[in-house]
Assembly symmetry: C2
Homo-oligomer: 472 residues x 2
């Protein structure tokens, strides 16, 4: 190949252009946060309305960066549902914060891939260290730390964490000669769908959804009976999921009593604390997680309610041995001195994916920026706003609260009729200035109000109450 026809690299955005557009986009985000209340919370885009504005084929020639920013405003924004809106009361929050977003930027700029300790020691060690901090902050058993026999790892979502727990439990059972097709996983009827999905993905033959009591907590006698009945029928109970805050109503399963059954029958006990685990940073909520010394794994999502932007799910195991035993495979191109020494953690052995980005940076920055006290303040403020709203609902004969509301979610319905509830769900969502979630409990419609955005204040909840009052 002569010099003249040797390929040339493409033209990149220069460092100067990166600075220029980067500064503009920092301001764009700050402006967005300042004006987010001007938007409808839920996009009113119709199916296909975004795509139809995009050219059929990718551009052959690069476009000016200004065009990308223009389309961000003109095409993207009308199709955005504003999870960061202070009147976001839907689902659970996915709250974020300035230090988290800045850490995500730095992580992308560094562009490290932390599959092994050696491929960026700081990424692994900061992750281990901060997750050990959280063991203390949430008052989890000390032996769950990476410096002890357990350990934490960041995953993308609680679904991934739960699936991983299911796989390790299945692997152990398979080693005892049990066929996946005969394995049973147990959860309550109110458990998040990720348990059922994870069990399907992991190949469990059976998922048993156990009834709840009036507190939306798993009926412990029903669990005991189901396990015994399955055993009597030749099936193999393997896995039990306890919810610390169900998605439907934030019901709390009796972890300690479930743990006793799991010990008796040698079952893996997993705690799905995706949402409410964040509240455990406040001592006054920790009685809800009594019994953790009986637990094998635990997941919670700082990306839900701890101001770490999505994705950032924490997965703890009480003993990392079975996890690594199940998931470690060492091809020759990944061999290295540090791994061989056994002195380091290679997080690729803690989950399904091999590659991983430096997600711990944002968790570290959020904790340091707010301090534990700042995080507790946020949780307590959201819970107080929720209890205040619950008081209003409780005092008003038009409404009926349908489940306990220990955290920052309250579920209610209209006393008049189910139709009134359904009408209220639609009417308030139609206004556009708030978003909440219509759901069902015991086959009847109910309304979920989840309070957890970083910028949500008293005034936003008051405005929601006014809407409820007006449309009920």
């Amino acid at each position: 190949m002569t010099e003249s026809n040797f390929p040339q690299p493409p033209k990149h955005l220069s460092t100067e252009e990166f600075r220029q557009h980067g500064h503009a986009l920092i301001d764009w985000i700050a402006d967005y946060w300042d004006r987010v209340e001007d938007f409808r919370v839920v996009s009113d885009a119709t199916p296909g309305s975004i795509r139809e504005q995009l050219p059929t084929a990718a551009p052959e020639v690069g476009e000016p960066f200004e065009d990308l920013i223009r389309d961000l405003d003109d095409i993207v924004m009308p199709g955005i549902t504003h999870w960061q809106h202070p009147s976001w009361f839907a689902f659970f929050p996915a709250n974020a914060s300035p230090p988290s977003v800045l850490a995500e930027l730095v992580s992308a700029g560094l562009g490290v891939q932390g599959m092994l300790w050696s491929t960026s020691p700081a990424a692994t060690e900061i992750e281990s260290h901060v997750l050990d901090w959280l063991v203390d902050l949430l008052d989890l058993p000390a032996y769950w730390k990476t410096t002890e026999q357990g350990g934490g790892v960041l995953q993308m979502s609680a679904s991934d964490s739960t699936h991983t727990a299911l796989v390790v439990a299945r692997h152990q059972a398979t080693n005892r000669g049990v066929q996946p097709g005969s394995m049973v996983a147990y959860a309550s009827t109110q458990t998040h769908s990720s348990i059922q999905k994870g069990a399907t993905v992991a190949g469990y033959g059976h998922v048993r959804l156990i009834d709840v009591d009036g507190q939306q907590a798993m009926n412990i006698e029903a669990l005991q009976s189901a396990v015994e009945e399955d055993k009597a029928n030749g099936l193999s109970p393997v896995f039990v999921a306890a919810s610390l805050g169900t998605t439907g109503t934030t019901g709390v399963d009796p972890i300690e009593a479930m743990g006793a059954i799991c010990k008796e029958h040698d079952l893996w006990l997993h705690v799905d604390a995706a949402y409410a685990g964040n509240a455990m940073i406040c001592p006054e909520f920790r009685h809800y997680q009594a019994g953790l010394e009986l637990v094998d794994s635990y997941t919670f999502n700082p990306h839900k309610w701890l101001m770490v932007n999505f994705d950032c799910s924490v997965f703890y195991v009480a003993d990392r041995g079975p996890l690594i035993d199940c998931l470690s495979i060492l091809p020759p191109y990944l061999k290295n001195e540090a791994s061989a020494s056994g002195a380091v953690i290679d997080y690729r052995d803690w989950h399904v994916p091999l590659g991983r980005r430096f997600r711990a940076l944002k968790l570290w920055w959020v904790i340091r920026s707010y301090g534990a006290e700042g995080l507790r303040e946020m949780i307590r403020y959201h819970v107080a706003l929720t209890q205040q709203l619950a008081d209003r609902l409780d005092r008003d004969p038009r409404f009926e609260i349908v489940a306990p509301h220990p955290f920052a979610l309250v579920c209610f319905r209209c006393t008049e009729s189910d139709e009134a509830t359904s009408r209220l769900i639609e009417a308030v969502n139609k206004v556009g200035s708030v978003a909440w979630t219509g759901s069902e409990l015991d086959g009847r419609p109910m309304i979920r109000v989840s309070i957890g955005q970083r910028s949500t204040e008293q005034s936003h909840v008051d405005a929601l109450w006014d809407l409820i009052d007006e449309h009920a």
Copy 2:
């Protein structure tokens, strides 16, 4: 609760402080890219050396943001292995680019969670649209588009994509009454470890690693025999993985011939093109993927070699029906009009996790910013640099190239002895100004040189050659 003791929200970084620190960090990243060559490529941190600089407990009170940036320089940077260094020749690249990093920033700032179409229509529609663009850009079968019967979805890593394919294939086989314990997945001995790991995680009873020929491609007769032998022994062949560019040497399996065997025996054929799939944007490489009309699923990682920062793995299925059938679960709190209409895609049904961030933004911005031509230029430049280095190695009697090198990876060893190869691996890595990967082929040491960083130029490869020449 009286007004005076009602909890107050924590003090957040103000918008002005966000702007100030955001601008500073944009400059910090630009400066980092400008000075990245001043760093040792591979961190020389020793195990524990990062952690020991961190306080034992999380701070109770928030710290000034300046302290976080200070520790970024003082504590984090010495523990960073610089994947964005132009002399990064290790593993495969994880290259990034200015538009990608800026899109990651915007995605974090918007903080949307795109589990359902309705939770941010733009996130879903741009993802579908851009992945349809890539079907054309890579000349994949047109029916893989979301507008046809197939479709693409972004996952975190090729390991996730491959695992998903394994699960869907297992699910179909289970529906036919096959037990996972009797299922067999096939891949070549040179296939990425994610196949073996994915099959373990998905519960396959058996993984059969098939021999390769002198071209590092799967021996097709050996595959045929293995499938027939397994069937004769009462096992159930289910899944075959073809590598389009093995991790060891970028070997290319014969997709078309494998497809014929898969059709004959009704097996799922998955193509792992994690690295080399990116090269398919150039027509001259597409003969390597002949036979795609026989394929059920395909994965490639724009986060490896298309300047989209980690994570961004693409997963295509030829028919989305079985995927959604396997992975869709609909709890009441996720019900919504758009989903019920069937007119939209809900990507939560396309993978294990429920939540998902707006990753398509960076893929969209990279393609638009460079244009297809710019992406082809980058691929061709890296391949040309690699072929030039291969020529030098080939002409020098001290070295022996051990495998075909169709893309931008060349593998070689020292002709003198295996000890000489091992010494060379160590000697060059010790210098610190470059990084490459020592691996093994046929039980003997070899050296992998992977050329794929955005800022790698002729001069960096020349400097690598000088080091090889000096230390051999």
